[in-house]
Point group: C2
Chain length 374, copies 2
């Protein structure tokens, strides 16, 4: 494993180089009395492709061009200001949320944003612009404002201090009934682990059960609480951990179209409308432990009828989602769920006893990881 | 400070005693061919009172009586089953979420719940019933399914293992850019700290800034990220920490009716519709650091106009909320905000530089804690 501080410096240099190159190109063009322009990939579902080989929703080749004209002058200036802010953040080893960036603009004179939606759009454009050069928003030092996921188990996180560079070693087996809360920015982290896999869990309640009973000890694993659709910080954390430590990732979510399509699919291949950044967030090595529609039958789980929104979501997935279309076992599983007309929560396993999930269900499942849905 | 394990055993004994006493009373009445009955405090805003002396929304004296009749037999049986589940959880040192309890009922034969709303209502009743004897839902071993808040700073959490009793010492200065994630159940925790106060922060982004720059080191404090309205686990954690270590609590939230009325007021005195449990969750020692309406003027903060829902919420607070009615400075502050017609986010301080908040704003505020709103 590479030294975290060295890796970080290398990334920072690449980021600064890319920002400078973009700015220089605009400056040069302007110097020659030309019309400066910037290119951005088109961010829409129509400009997305999926192949099981790359393992995530990739952005297509459609680009939009923003040329400096009377009409675009303000947005153009704002984009450059935003790039300059990013450069400053990398140089001072700091970071900003979307809101921070919006409020910073209040000092930009004429280039001030009036609404946060404006600054968010410029930030998304900039993120898309640099994603072409494999530079993520996090490398640009823009962080999400969301609460991160929680982690417990066989993992030590190495976290170098912003200022001193002193590395903090965080042992995730030592949190009692509590857990490690993932920071917004995870690019500077590195990992040490003897775990065999990462288990990503939908609900806080299930995570708390597995954590309090130290399931990670018997199963030699790392537990991650996603609390619904995982935040970007959580997805990036799991991705980097999986990559660096060569660990498979198993998802344990509710058996309903939301758990399968929104949570699992987003974790594994990314989302359609943020396709320009999926390369950084997707977790291609993820597979689906459960709860599967077949589990409902095998474990005689209590169910709820599918709601209209569930049925719509499931049919949409079959008809329009390139991921489910590419994987026949998934198409069959979703059809089975639609036919049964029911859904089941992961906590439904409590029917057989509160700790049945950790004493019976998970161990049985983990004996046969090859049968997991792709 | 009392030994955590001893304290926990004492609480567990009290809980078991109360459950047995309630059950015994019903059994005795039935044995004498009487009609068994159970008493529950009425849970509604109309049965709530506030005094600055007790420091929280207290439930009133109105009670409802549930007598065993042909019509109530099922609910009555379910309540007893739920009490029995709670007893089992205390005895086996385990816990259950609302959902777990619902699914457990699938083995209760005729007493099975058909919908989770039914089991939630029975659990709320039971919680209210035992709250009269100062026993919290957490002591009954029912835990929320929510994600806990994050903590960083000058604090060591002592957490005894469920099974072995071995105490884990969690040093919250050692999480790097990450944080300690509060567990769902905090009754068994105890604390060691040299901090001077607890700072509760509304947004994840602001928490991340203060944490990454180790504000807790210079200010000698404990940082808590609430991520909006704090969960019960977070509120109970702050309350116990404040009580045990005799620490004042300062809230740092957006200057809008949501931050003031929903987040701050709930943290300090509890909520109206869960008044029967506020005694466990309220943090009476909390005061309001900012952002205040006066701060908007003093710090020339960028603002947004108040939305209709903001105006409605502010007027409601002035007219109907016993807390704001009891504290004149609050009534004046809310009137000032209404008059100005604007709100400001805590991140608006970024206007003066990203780290202005930790280098200027917070230190200036903390020099004069007596001026904080009550």
């Amino acid at each position: 494993m590479k030294d975290a501080a060295t890796l970080k410096k290398k990334l920072d240099r690449a980021t600064l180089k890319a920002i400078k190159a973009s700015a220089q190109a605009i400056y040069d063009k302007a110097g020659k009395k030309g019309n400066p322009e910037m290119k951005f990939p088109v961010r829409s579902l129509k400009n997305v492709k999926y192949s099981a080989r790359t393992g995530y929703f990739e952005i297509g080749r459609q680009m939009k061009l923003r040329t400096l004209t009377v009409n675009t002058v303000k947005t153009f200036a704002q984009t450059l200001r935003m790039m300059s802010l990013s450069k400053e953040l990398v140089e001072t080893d700091d970071f900003a949320t979307k809101r921070d960036a919006y409020y910073q603009s209040k000092n930009w004179g004429q280039a001030m944003f009036r609404e946060q939606t404006e600054s968010d759009a410029v930030m998304d454009d900039m993120e898309a612009h640099f994603s072409v050069e494999k530079i993520s928003r996090e490398q640009l030092r823009f962080i999400p404002d969301e609460h991160g996921g929680a982690v417990a188990g066989e993992l030590t996180v190495l976290d170098p201090d912003l200022k001193t560079g002193r590395v903090e070693k965080i042992d995730c087996t030592r949190f009692g009934s509590g857990a490690y809360s993932i920071p917004s920015l995870v690019e500077h982290l590195s990992f040490e682990t003897r775990a065999k896999f990462i288990l990503c869990i939908e609900t806080g309640g299930m995570f708390q059960r597995l954590q309090s009973h130290k399931f990670w000890e018997t199963a030699r694993c790392i537990l991650v609480s996603m609390a619904g659709v995982p935040t970007r910080g959580t997805r990036r954390f799991v991705r980097r951990l999986s990559d660096q430590c060569d660990l498979p990732v198993y998802a344990f979510v509710d058996c309903d179209p939301y758990g399968i399509s929104n949570i699992y699919r987003t974790l594994k291949v990314g989302s359609g409308n943020a396709a320009h950044v999926n390369q950084f967030y997707c977790v291609p090595r993820c597979s689906f432990l459960g709860v599967t529609p077949q589990d409902i039958l095998d474990y005689k789980l209590p169910t709820h009828p599918l709601k209209d929104v569930d049925i719509k979501r499931a049919k949409d997935a079959l008809k329009n989602d390139p991921f489910f279309q590419a994987h026949k076992p998934w198409a069959r599983a979703i059809q089975q769920m639609l036919k049964m007309g029911v859904r089941a929560e992961q906590q439904a396993l409590a029917r057989w006893g509160l700790n049945y999930v950790l004493e019976e269900y998970l161990p049985a499942k983990l004996k046969n990881t090859k049968s997991f849905l792709p």
